[in-house]
């Protein structure tokens, strides 16, 4: 059966799956580029995504508007990451502990909200999620159409965010300030840049993207909410940023690589590869480590990475 791997339909399905699976990693990863460039390692992306997922889903359910749901996910993501910002920037807490604490909080809170809002139902709440776009001729193109032109609108939005993120970081004053506060906050401060404000913004933007990624999972990828809907994607996206050396285009490749590993893993299982399913499940994680190995040698971390800033500290 493994000969099927080389069939065209397999490849088409694989690549379409890759793009789909890459999207919910790409979105938060792009957000974390802002955050990490500003010198903050936000491990709470996972919890933030969950909050985005539950809130986006709830609002979409209540209003019937997916876009409103998406917006809510983004806003809630920002609100939740505000806690991270406060802890890591104002309180100057250790970022690892703050991140883990927030993940526990986010997971608990999302489950709590779901139960309180939706109660126990014999069938879960569902919505009509974003449907794949259908461009008459293009979507029907044999291979290209099936791989690229059959996703929902948010997938395209996510990939559009790649050049946008690049543009903001490289070409705007805001991007420059982000790089500066991550690199040499004291210098930025002495040049009249509010390190706190820039870092807060960077964390909030990261939160917005993470919230969007979370909402994507419940209103565009799936059409229901479960507690494990994020399933480690937040952590993976943090890894992708480091793998990407903080560059948006490389983050896209990182997300695609992870998507490919996940999609391939499922398909190899389905085709009855002689490898036990549990070992195949390792594939995406092994791929992440492998990617890190190849990328890290050259990775230049922002000099103030994970370091809180205080003007008074010498």
């Amino acid at each position: 059966m493994l000969s099927n791997i080389f069939s065209l339909s397999f490849l088409v399905s694989l690549l379409a799956g890759t793009i789909r699976l890459a999207t919910p990693i790409l979105i938060p990863a792009l957000g974390q580029i802002y955050t990490q460039r500003a010198g903050i390692l936000n491990l709470s992306v996972e919890g933030t995504m969950l909050m985005g997922a539950i809130s986006g889903f709830t609002v979409a359910c209540a209003t019937g508007s997916l876009w409103l749901g998406l917006l809510t996910g983004i806003v809630v993501g920002m609100l939740f990451s505000l806690i991270m910002a406060w802890l890591s920037i104002t309180v100057r807490a250790n970022q690892v502990i703050a991140g883990i604490g927030l993940n526990i909080l986010g997971a608990g809170f999302a489950a709590y909200l779901y139960r309180v809002i939706f109660g126990i139902r014999s069938l879960p709440a569902q919505i009509d999620s974003f449907q794949q776009i259908n461009i008459p001729v293009l979507s029907d193109l044999p291979i290209i159409g099936q791989i690229f032109i059959q996703h929902n609108i948010l997938v395209y939005l996510a990939f559009l965010l790649v050049p946008l993120t690049w543009f903001v970081i490289e070409k705007t004053t805001f991007g420059l300030k982000i790089k500066a506060v991550g690199e040499h906050p004291k210098a930025a401060d002495s040049k009249g840049i509010s390190v706190y404000r820039i870092r807060y913004s960077a964390v909030l933007i990261g939160g917005a993207y993470a919230g969007m990624g979370g909402a994507f999972m419940t209103i565009a990828y799936m059409n229901s909410f479960t507690e494990s809907v994020i399933g480690g994607r937040g952590y993976i996206s943090v890894a992708v940023v480091i793998f990407a050396r903080f560059l948006p285009s490389r983050a896209m490749w990182g997300a695609l690589l992870f998507g490919l590993a996940s999609a391939l893993q499922l398909r190899l299982q389905a085709l009855g590869a002689a490898i036990p399913s549990q070992l195949l499940l390792m594939l995406p994680y092994l791929a992440t480590i492998a990617a890190l190995i190849f990328a890290s040698k050259k990775a230049e971390f922002p000099s103030a990475y994970t370091l809180p800033y205080s003007r008074l500290e010498r």
Binding site: K171, T172, T173, F174, L176, K177, K179, A180, E183, H184, K186, A187, A188, D189, S190, K191, G192, I193, E300, S303, R311, L312, E313, R314
Partner: protein, 510 residues
């Protein structure tokens, strides 16, 4: 009309209850260069940080151009025409010059960067003051002197009328310093006012119009500089006593060759050749001064000599034993002491206590360690002894090294490196940033080590210092040995070699 650019009155600022500034009055006349003198920790930087809005004073008022101003942040300071070049450069290394400049100002293209325009204007200012700065080079590619110029350029470009320079010359070579002073004079011509913090009294005498002296956070006085003011007078104001520029007598003549290296080739952090076939011998009871413009391979050489950097090729013997590319611990055990140039990331563990910093090269060694356990009692006793002997000003041994002033930090390193009675002492810029008193103290200690039979290599950009303490003077340029001169050599000659003029080389001396 008011002719004071800055008037600070009754400025008080306390850290942890300790007054870094205690009712300081400081007046800066327009169009003048004003020196600010004081020992390490006297409160110079603190005062200037207050003027620049980085710190808020606890008491006192600031008047800029005759108006009382509340300088709540650097932005406010910049808008009042105040610029500052810090003791530690405030430049983001991966960014370009123009990017660093754009950080501090509003873009004319709104949220978009106006890189091109800024770069052009920057180049224009650079040309005007003959600074030769390329706006598009990345900071990490620049030498220390160039970075210095970038900082000044930035301040001028930002429209600074009052410029604060915190120890700008500490890292410059004599030639660079001359160039730099020319720039300062030109700026004074343009009507700008300049505050110059320095520990080098000659510089005060050479360029400053007026000088203010701080001691222990208090203002001692302000003096108009005229030829009648002597260095001794200034020192006395600073330290509160006469500093005797006396060195211990030289009690021993150089002995056998202790440390010898031949044809060392090594790369720097960027992978470029830093030393090319470098050879030198250092004898027992001998101080070899290594003169050279900063960044010509001195740091890499010191690191090879202490095992911190691996040489690509070459040979090295210590007391006759081949030792090239051994681990750092090997050299430590062989009593090779090293005072590194960078005390913040190499010489000290800033967040460790002073005590621990004193013994961190002796982890696992008696008497500080017994049966695998570090002995607190023994370490405490050693701290008390070192504190007295090296006159370290600190609240207690449990204080973090970070909280000490630069001079006292250097004393910690000195105590650690010299107290082991080193057989070889490598000292890289041992007095950089130290006040005259502290510098004198350090040099004394180095001579003492020499008299105790140590073979000493002193790297310094300060020719004065090299001439004072060296038995022989080696000159390095672009990773190559340019020549070796005897004690009392001519400054001009050394300067020539430092600029790259070659001389016949006899590595062993005599």
């Amino acid at each position: 009309m008011e002719n004071m650019a800055v008037k600070m009155q009754g400025i008080t600022k306390a850290f942890n209850g300790v007054k870094a500034n205690d009712h300081v009055d400081f007046y800066l006349e327009k169009g003048s260069i004003h020196g600010l003198l004081g020992e390490n920790g006297a409160g110079k930087t603190t005062l200037m940080n207050i003027l620049y809005g980085l710190y808020q004073q606890d008491e006192g008022t600031i008047m800029i151009n005759g108006k009382i101003e509340d300088i709540s942040s650097p932005v406010k300071a910049i808008s009042l025409g105040i610029g500052m070049v810090h003791q530690h450069f405030m430049l983001a290394r991966p960014l370009t010059v123009v990017e660093n400049v754009m950080l501090g100002r509003k873009s004319r293209r709104g949220i978009l960067l106006d890189t091109k325009q800024t770069a052009q204007e920057l180049a224009a200012v650079s040309d005007k003051y003959k600074m030769g700065v390329d706006p598009y080079s990345k900071i990490w590619q620049l030498s220390v002197g160039e970075q210095q110029r970038v900082e000044i350029l930035t301040a001028i470009y930002m429209g600074a009328q009052t410029l604060i320079l915190d120890e700008p010359t500490a890292v410059l070579t004599p030639q660079e310093t001359e160039l730099f002073f020319d720039t300062l004079r030109e700026m004074r011509e343009d009507g700008k006012s300049i505050i110059l913090i320095t520990h080098k009294l000659e510089e005060i005498v050479e360029i400053v119009d007026e000088v203010t002296v701080l001691r222990d956070g208090k203002m001692i006085g302000t003096k108009k500089m005229d030829p009648s003011v002597t260095k001794g007078e200034l020192t006395n104001m600073m330290v509160g006593r006469d500093v005797l520029f006396n060195f211990p007598e030289i009690t021993k003549q150089p002995g056998e060759v202790k440390l010898s290296f031949r044809n060392i080739c090594v790369r720097n952090d960027k992978g470029l050749p830093a030393l090319k076939d470098f050879s030198l011998d250092i004898r027992e009871s001998e101080v070899v001064g290594l003169a050279g413009v900063d960044g010509n391979g001195q740091k890499e050489l010191c690191e090879v000599l202490t095992g911190l950097r691996k040489a690509d090729s070459g040979e090295m013997t210590l007391g006759g034993e081949p030792v090239i590319n051994k681990e750092p611990i090997f050299f430590i055990n062989k009593k090779v002491s090293y005072i590194p140039e960078d005390r913040h990331t190499t010489g000290l563990a800033l967040d460790w206590s002073l005590k621990r910093n004193l013994i961190f090269k002796s982890i696992g060694k008696a008497p500080y360690s017994r049966n695998g356990l570090m002995q607190s009692k023994c370490i405490n006793a050693y701290w008390e002894k070192a504190k007295d002997e090296y006159q370290i000003k600190a609240i207690c041994g449990d204080e973090k090294a970070r909280s000490l002033s630069g001079g006292n930090q250097q004393k910690i390193i000195l105590a650690r490196e010299i107290d082991v009675e080193p057989e070889v002492l490598i000292a890289d810029q041992p007095t950089r940033g130290l006040d005259v008193g502290a510098a004198e103290y350090v040099r004394n200690k180095i001579i003492e080590a020499r008299n105790n039979s140590a073979a000493v290599l002193v790297v310094s950009a300060d020719l004065e210092e090299i001439l004072q303490i060296s038995d022989r003077i080696a000159v390095i340029y672009d990773g190559e040995l340019m020549g070796i001169l005897p004690r009392g050599a001519d400054t001009y000659e050394i300067g020539e070699l430092m600029m790259g003029k070659r001389e016949e080389v006899a590595v062993s001396g005599k």
